[in-house]
Every structure is written in C-alpha cells, then in structure tokens.
Assembly symmetry: C2
Homo-oligomer: 330 residues x 2
C-alpha cells in the first residue's frame, strides 16, 4: 500500500522502516530538515527492496498516497490536517497520538469547514519507549504491540477500518477496536492516573529524607514514571482531562474508603476485603491469549471484542471475517 508518513520520530520512523521492510512503497516527511537528512542517509543504507523515500514537502509526500499517517505531536495535528485539506488529499488517513477524542474533534472540525475529509481512522500504537527520535526507530517496534484503531458507530467506514487493520496486523501488532471515548477512558486508568499517583507519592516522600533512604522495591516501582519530564506528564494527563478526571475520582473514592478504615475500630479486618479485588485483578494480569477464533467483520462484534479485552490478529482477504483472540482469565 502506497503510504506517506508525516513526522519521523520514534513511532513515525519505525513505521516507515517496518512498512518498507514489508515491501510497501513508503515516503516520509518531517518538518525538521536535519531529521529528513538522517532519514535519507538511513534509507540509502537499507537493503535493496526495503528502502523508503524522503520528500521535501507534505504535498510531495502525499501526492500518490493511498494512506497518510500523521505521526506528529498533538499540537501539530491541526496544522497538517489543514495542509492535507488544502492539497485535497482524499484517501485513507490515520494518526498515532496517545489521545483520541481531541484528534477526532480536530478532524470533525475540518470536515465542517472543508467538506468531508478522507476516511479517517484514529490510531494509537502502545509502543512508547524511553528513547525518542528517528535515530531510535526500529522496524520491529510494533511486533507484539497493542495498537488501538478507533471505530465510531455510524461514523467510521468499516471497509477503511478493515483495510488499515489488515495492514497493521502484518506488522505483528494486536489491533484493538475501540471508540475514541473508550480508548481515552482506558488509557486514563492504565497510564495517566498512574502518572498522577506516582508524582504525588514521590512529592510526599521527598519531604522526608529518612523515607527516601528507607525506600526499596515498592517505592521504586510505584514512583518510576514520576521521573518522566513534567512537561510530558502534564501534556499527557492534562490533554486527556475529560477522561482522567472521572477515573481519578474513582481512585480517590476507593482511597477514601481505605482512609476511613485506618481510623476505624479494626483497620486490618476492614482493609483485607478492600485489598482483595485489586489483588485478584493484578495477579491475573496479563492473561494468556485464548486460541484464535474467527469473528464476522461487524462493527458491533468488533467493539464488543475490544471492550472484552480482545484484539484482531488478522483480517481475511475478502474482509468478511477477522481472526481474533481474548485474554484468558487465570
């Protein structure tokens, strides 16, 4: 599939390499001339038949594309969308940013202004690393990775979704169907709220050097993500504020129950059942994958699969069925 990747950081660069290695005709573009030069040099060193090209402008990159991937940070998404609308790009479009509601809003806002935009499917490969930039890119980055593809009932063209899912499963990724709202609520629970808890814990411990000197495994693990740059943590958490707020409320409500138990007549007895639910969930996580099953390629079936914690392994050539798996509860 002829693909243009706009933005050649860790994710965009890795996708460029992975698609080129898979035999696809790919063109990359980055707003930074130095990044373009690095990507061109790397292409020349790639094996014959697995090379990509680097364009000098968005217009040149997307000219013949059947798919455009926006691999730029959220604040740059609107600008590139405007540019694509101006060019009149009208095929498949996806993105890789870590929050899906705000990207969907930007796309829908352009659709109102410019008329219907190309088939947009929001995406999020859960493939973050502590390194960044094109030099850290890796064509194997998506192997075994979970990759959310948004499916909005009554909005997403199913054939577009299946075309993109088919491509991404060939990279070895687990494609998870979810609405933008479901995605944003889920990442609030497993990524954004953990950043808030880790930072609060590190801040409290920081006031007591004795505590820091006694910190061992539970402090090290519980605060690991607190070492992330504050600008990144704030952008991620604050950029998903609508979903993070209610999820944090649920955590605060549970902690309020524990706080009351600590002041109660029998803290140990009251806390035992309080701990039990989380223990059961965490001890069984992550579940082993079930045997692959064939499912009809129907939006409701796909969204139910995603909500049950399942994913698409492959899409049939005729687009009528998908092969899927779910986690087994231990």
């Amino acid at each position: 599939m002829r693909t243009a990747v706009i933005g050649l950081g860790l994710i965009g660069g890795s996708l460029l390499r992975a698609l080129a290695a898979g035999g696809h005709a790919v063109l990359g573009y980055d707003a930074d001339p130095a990044t373009r030069a690095v990507a061109r040099t790397a292409a020349a060193r790639a094996p014959q038949g697995e090379r990509w090209q680097v364009a000098g402008a968005v217009r040149d990159a997307v000219a013949n594309a059947e798919l455009v991937v926006l691999a730029v940070p959220l604040p740059a998404v609107g600008t590139v969308l405007d540019e694509l609308a101006g060019i009149g790009y009208s095929s498949l479009l996806t993105d890789v940013t870590s929050v899906k509601g705000p990207v969907r809003d930007r796309v829908n806002e352009r659709a109102r202004r410019f008329g219907r935009l190309p088939g947009f499917i929001g995406g999020h490969p859960m493939a973050g690393r502590e390194t960044s930039g094109f030099t850290a890119s890796d064509p194997r980055l998506f192997h075994g990775c979970t990759w959310v593809l948004c499916l909005e009932p009554g909005e997403t063209e199913l054939t577009d979704w299946l075309t993109l899912a088919a491509l991404i499963t060939t990279l070895g990724a687990r494609v998870v169907p979810a609405t933008a709202a479901d995605h944003d609520r889920a990442v609030a629970a497993v990524s954004h709220v953990p950043h808030l808890l880790a930072a609060a814990l590190a801040t409290v411990a920081a006031a007591d050097p004795l505590a820091l000197s006694l910190g061992a495994g539970s402090f090290r693990d519980g605060t690991r993500v607190a070492a992330s740059p504050p600008a990144l943590s704030a952008a991620m958490t604050g950029g998903n504020a609508d979903a993070v707020g209610p999820t944090l409320d649920r955590v605060l409500s549970l902690l309020g129950t524990a706080r009351a138990a600590l002041d109660g007549a029998d803290p140990i007895g009251e806390l035992m059942p309080w701990f039990a639910t989380g223990t059961a969930a965490r001890a069984g996580w992550p579940g082993e994958p079930s045997e692959p099953v064939a499912l009809p390629a129907d939006p409701d079936v796909l969204l139910r699969l995603g909500r049950a914690g399942g994913w698409v392994i492959a899409v049939a050539d005729d687009r009528g069925t998908v092969t899927a798996a779910r986690p087994l509860i231990r």
Copy 2:
C-alpha cells in the same frame, strides 16, 4: 556475640546463617518442629566453624545468650516477650518486625508489669523478598541492606544501641538511627501508602477489560505490589494505621489539587509545576553515598544523621565515634 534467634523464617534464618558465618555462637528456635528439623539438617551441612545450633525450647535457646533477636511476626511478639520475662532474660534484645511503634508499646507494657526488661532496641532490616521461610534464607541477605535501629531519646541505652549497631554493620548492612515514630512515618510513605495506591489503581482498572488490555509499563510498575496477598497488605498497612493515615492524607491533598487542575481552564499549564517536585525527587533517587565521615557517637548526632537520610557504616571499638555516610543530592 552469643546470640539466640527466635523465629527461623526468611529473616531469622538468614540472620542465623549470617552470624554463624561471621564466627558467632548462635542458637535458633522456631515454634514449628518441621522448621527446626530443616534448620538442624542445614546446620549439619554448613562448613565447620560456621554452624549454628537449634534448640527445642525458647528457654534453652536464650539460656547463655548475650543478645536475643525476635524474628517472629508481630502477633507473636507479645507471647515471646512474656516468655522471656518469665525466664528472667536480662541482656540485649531486638526485633525485626516492619512496624516499630506497636512493638515498643508491647515492650513498655511488659516493663510496667514485670519491672525493667532487658536493653531493648527495636530493629527493622529492609530486606523483604517475594520468597519466605527458612528454605529461602540466605547469609548474604543483609549485605547492602538498610537496617533501622531505633534510638529513643531518654529511653534507649546508647551503649546497647552501639553494641547492636557494631554487630549489624559487620553483616554489611547500613544501620539507620531513627525513633520508632520516625521509622513508622517513613515506611508509611515508601511502603504502606504505595500498597494502597497500587490496590486502588488495580481495582479501578479491573472494572474495564479494555483498560487491562492496554496496560503497559506504567500500569505494570504502578500496580506490582497489588499482587501481594491481601492479608499481608492489610496487616502491614492496618498495623501502622496511626502513621499511614496522615501520610495518605498528604497524598490525597496533592491529588485533590491535581483533580481541580483537570477541571480548570488550563490543565496542562497547571499540572506542569504540580509534577515538577515529584520528578526532581524521583530523578535524584537513590543518591550516591557521600565519602565516609567520622561522627561522635551521640544520640542527637545519630538521630540527625538518620533524619538527613544517612546511615552508620561502622562503630569504633571504643564506642566513641561511628563512621557514617549520607546520600549525595544529584
């Protein structure tokens, strides 16, 4: 030093082996006959000159001891204290339980009933492992480990404290002087509150299979301790309720500020400084040790060292000075 270790689980068993390997005459006792048998068999296989003995009763274990170590769980501490009082044991006494205020209360309560108890120094080696029992014991367990020894102004005999500190530093441990109250507040921050946060997070995510399927590094690390048995987490957290409550309040207050920012006009801008304090603390943790310094063996000096995050490396033979280090701020 002739030592009796009462309770031969992971910590007691490891201490028995470590002291025997250091050439001390050690006797162990465990209430469980099967554990005593295992410990006897292991002793017979130890190198000549590094063997320990296993007694059939507490009375036999402590008969000639200069030091008794209570390595039993908190609920059993009172029973063993009563037994020692009945026997009339009157030399050095320490324990290894993870909460220090409640142990101190039990000792002081016996002192009121039976008259002065032997020189008691509360202790806590921060050497937990996921394994347990004598079969998991390891004579090298305490090498590099942080070991709190309680020093209560006007209550602890300094010479007793220094004698015990001298012994423990020879096992390779960092001896941290702290009052029982300071210790309990510090472990609330770095161990007990992390267990509460991890369990609350795992419980919220457990309600959403999609969230569990998207969980990656920050969820894995932020909930790792939630897999601990609920009875252990509840005993630890609820057993230190007086210190955990106020520490949890500080965490809840910080999270309340973050919650308000999420509803504010500029969540990203407001959360940036909110994240910064925790990031600075966590990024600099753990600090590198300073060069060793000599300090006078004075209770106030020792407690100041502990409150600053420092520890004792060695005690001079004349007990007049200690060698100490502090973490360097990066």
